[in-house]
């Protein structure tokens, strides 16, 4: 495997990841603005974005912290939001699991929804890529996205209240996640799982500390898995 091919796979990945800047910039800036408003210092806000490195979980934790939720509730809810990363980790292991440990450790740190999604699509579309081509593609895809999360947080702290309301930065979060979820509706089981999640999250939205989301997610996961089993049995019958 020549270095030139590896290099070009890095740039193919880079170009694939580039459009996600559109999402990461407003999302990260919003986190800078909201965390500062909630009373975080600049150092705490930057540490939050670079240590935890997970947008949706950071927003969830921040919202609960602002409501003075107990420590364990904040941690449990934010980690539940990140539980999907275990699935990403398992499916990336199928393609990148033979990489050296230090590379896997770095892949784990910089992996986010967008880079996971584009890498999996590429690996499944072109299954005969070599391991080093896959690794090069992955790192290419995260380069324009992951460091920008921290940079955008800094911009948000710096610009703060000068960002006009009409930019509706708050809605960068739902738009980003809806765009990621929609292509995941591949089977009946995925659709029913998503609908169960929505209904239960809304029904239990009155529960304190976002516990409703935990309940909704746990039930939706089990329902999805059960429907998959049921469809499988039906296809065989």
């Amino acid at each position: 495997m020549s270095r030139a091919t590896q290099k070009s796979y890095y740039w193919i990945g880079f170009r694939t990841g580039l459009p996600f800047l559109l999402v990461v910039m407003p999302f990260g800036m919003l986190f800078g603005v909201v965390a500062t408003d909630a009373g975080f210092t600049s150092v705490q806000t930057m540490a939050f974005s670079s240590v935890v490195f997970a947008g949706a979980a950071q927003f969830t934790a921040l919202q609960l912290m602002a409501e003075d939720a107990p420590f364990l509730i904040v941690v449990a809810t934010a980690l539940a939001v990140n539980l999907r990363m275990a699935m990403y980790s398992a499916s990336l292991a199928m393609w990148l699991g033979r990489a050296p440990l230090w590379k896997r450790a770095l892949i784990a740190y910089v992996n986010v929804d967008q880079s996971y999604a584009v890498s999996m699509n590429r690996f499944e579309d072109v299954p005969d890529l070599s391991l080093s081509q896959r690794i090069a593609f992955f790192f290419g895809a995260v380069t324009p996205v992951s460091p920008m999360w921290v940079v955008a947080t800094g911009l948000g702290i710096w610009l703060g209240d000068t960002i006009p309301d009409w930019m509706a930065l708050d809605f960068a979060v739902p738009i980003c996640f809806l765009a990621i979820i929609a292509p995941m509706m591949r089977t009946l089981a995925h659709m029913v799982s998503a609908v169960v999640s929505i209904i239960l999250a809304l029904v239990f939205s009155g529960l304190p500390y976002n516990l409703g989301l935990l309940v909704a997610a746990a039930v939706a996961m089990i329902v999805g898995a059960q429907i998959e089993l049921w469809m499988h049995r039906r296809a065989q019958a």
Binding site: V75, A86, N111, W166, A168, A179
Partner: protein, 109 residues
């Protein structure tokens, strides 16, 4: 919020999130997982994200929890385009355009 509370959450969440990300990739490497574990993991994203987003779409904090036509239509366009095209960037672009168009039309944000 005390500084200790904030720092403790940053550190525990940082370590916990990293361990979740590292989990299978780090420890299992190229080995196989039990089928029932994979079956549940396949649904974590669709079980968590829609429940996370639904209240934000229906009751946005920016409007004090009132249903907002601009945000609701932006959400529907984003999801619809994502379903039809399976293209994340197209969904975000058209959803964002709908949001700004509706904010401009209704003059409300």
């Amino acid at each position: 919020m005390t500084a200790t509370y904030i720092w403790a959450i940053i550190i525990v969440l940082g370590v916990g999130t990293y361990l979740i990300r590292f989990s299978f990739l780090g420890l299992i490497g190229g080995k196989d997982l039990p089928e029932w574990v994979l079956r549940h993991l396949r649904y974590t994203a669709v079980a968590v994200l829609p429940g996370l987003v639904a209240p934000l779409v229906l009751w946005p904090a920016a409007t004090g929890g009132e249903v907002d036509p601009a945000r609701l239509s932006a959400a529907l366009v984003t999801f619809g385009v994502g379903l039809l095209t399976r293209n994340v960037v197209a969904a975000i672009t058209l959803g964002g355009a709908t949001l700004f168009g509706m904010v401009w039309l209704t003059g409300a944000y």
